[in-house]
């Protein structure tokens, strides 16, 4: 998910100047235009490399931070089956984070450095994970809406021009489908339950709907990178197109549950063949991105604590491996 194209800064990139440099860039673009995949050791423009590092690392961080709101409910899952499912899903998210850090490392940056940037508060992750999971319905809503939005975003990324990223996406998309379905099942169970359970589902949808639409990133008119990323085929579909597609598939799913989407302006537009929907509260989006969401501080503190508390394990494992290596050599 989770590639909102947020941080506008990829640092200064030296433009191609000499005829030879321009020729090399033109050859690169020709490969992209011919739908060739770019692989790790191939020559690539510095801007392409940095855009990918930014996007893939933000994506990886999102998977890792995304475990926290769900982890909140592991010990309080309503049944053993739900608990096992939730654990499996969270384990998948950790896996997704690791596939993505690996893909990012092929671009010549070390995972430790990326983690360091996240913990220092210098890296971005998806705005959606700065919202709290207040009720069990939120766990269902994350699966249905958040993972649903993620799938919408990630399916076209399977055809990204950068091979390792595209391959990681193939794996991730396969696994993500279970996440969305289990979420919808949770919400469906509540929607068909007691009046109190129905209210819980509706209240949760009311809170998650707009943040879910924000996951696709700012409107195309404000999205600095879209044009270049599309040209490089790092991105295949624009933010607004994906958002529209998400609304179009999700509204009937909500109707099926008898839940109401909290948007008075939402209605089917037969001429466009799409749903019209109200303005996304972008002020809120930019506030969350700037660090002022409900849980920004808590999420980073939790990650930092986990990193620090795991330090002795990482060091001990390395020391043990080294000791064994020396012993084997001596024998």
């Amino acid at each position: 998910m989770y590639t909102q194209g947020l941080d506008g800064k990829i640092g200064p990139v030296r433009e191609a100047e000499t005829a030879e440099e321009k020729e090399r860039e033109a050859r690169f673009q020709a490969r992209i235009d011919a739908e060739e995949r770019i692989e790790p050791n191939d020559w690539m423009p510095e801007g392409y490399r940095r855009t990918l590092i930014r996007q893939i690392s933000q994506h990886a961080h999102s998977e890792i931070v995304g475990m926290l709101p769900e982890g909140n409910w592991v010990t309080r899952a309503p049944t053993l089956r739900r608990k096992a499912i939730l654990l499996a899903k969270i384990q998948d998210e950790a896996g997704h984070g690791l596939y993505l850090y690996s893909a990012c490392e092929t671009l010549g940056v070390e995972r430790a450095e990326l983690v360091e940037q996240l913990l220092a508060g210098k890296a971005k992750y998806s705005s959606i994970f700065n919202y709290p999971t207040l009720t069990w319905a939120d766990v269902g809503m994350i699966g249905w809406l958040v993972d649903g939005a993620a799938i919408m975003n990630q399916v076209p990324l399977q055809r990204c021009s950068y091979g390792p990223y595209a391959r990681a996406m193939v794996r991730i998309c396969k696994e993500e489908s279970f996440h969305q379905r289990q979420g919808y099942e949770i919400v469906m169970t509540l929607a068909q339950g007691t009046p109190e359970q129905r209210r819980m589902a509706q209240e949760s949808l009311d809170r998650w709907w707009w943040p879910a639409l924000m996951m696709f990133g700012p409107p195309d008119s404000d999205s600095v990178h879209t044009a270049q990323s599309m040209k490089w085929k790092i991105k295949r579909v624009t933010n607004d197109e994906l958002r529209q597609k998400f609304v179009d598939v999700t509204v009937p799913q909500a109707e099926r549950l008898g839940l109401r989407i909290p948007d008075p302006q939402l209605r089917w537009n037969p001429e466009r063949g799409h749903y019209d929907f109200g303005p996304v509260p972008w002020d809120e989006f930019w506030r969350v991105i700037a660090g002022e969401g409900p849980c920004n501080r808590e999420r980073l503190e939790q990650r930092r604590r986990a990193h620090e508390e795991g330090r002795w394990v990482r060091e001990a494992a390395l020391a043990h491996a080294e000791k064994r290596r020396l012993r084997d050599r001596a024998a």
Binding site: N41, Q91, G95, E113, V115, A321
Partner: protein
């Protein structure tokens, strides 16, 4: 300063007997034994395989894209390596 990470391993999985091990990705691990444990959790959560190779990434020799021409072009103009290069009368059977 970022912490020192564990060494990088490339992971190969055999989906089932009769097939070759196939590269699936990489991971950081303190040693080979742990790399296999971690590859189990990372790459075979849904029965993707029955055998794992974990190879230290530093042990892999890699061809450079710059050498692509000298390595692979010699194969391009040798059509006589393919059966379709030869014209055999159609009444000759079983060939």
């Amino acid at each position: 300063m970022a912490d020192k990470d564990w060494p990088l391993y490339e992971i190969f999985i055999r989906p089932r007997n009769g097939l070759a091990h196939r590269h699936v990705g990489s991971l950081h691990a303190p040693d080979g034994e742990m790399a296999i444990e971690m590859a189990r959790d990372l790459y075979t959560r849904r029965g993707e395989g029955n055998s794992i190779w974990a190879v230290p990434a530093v042990a892999i020799a890699v061809s450079s894209p710059d050498d692509k021409a000298s390595l692979f072009e010699p194969a391009e103009d040798k059509e006589y390596r393919y059966p379709t290069h030869y014209t055999i009368p159609s009444d000759v059977k079983n060939m």
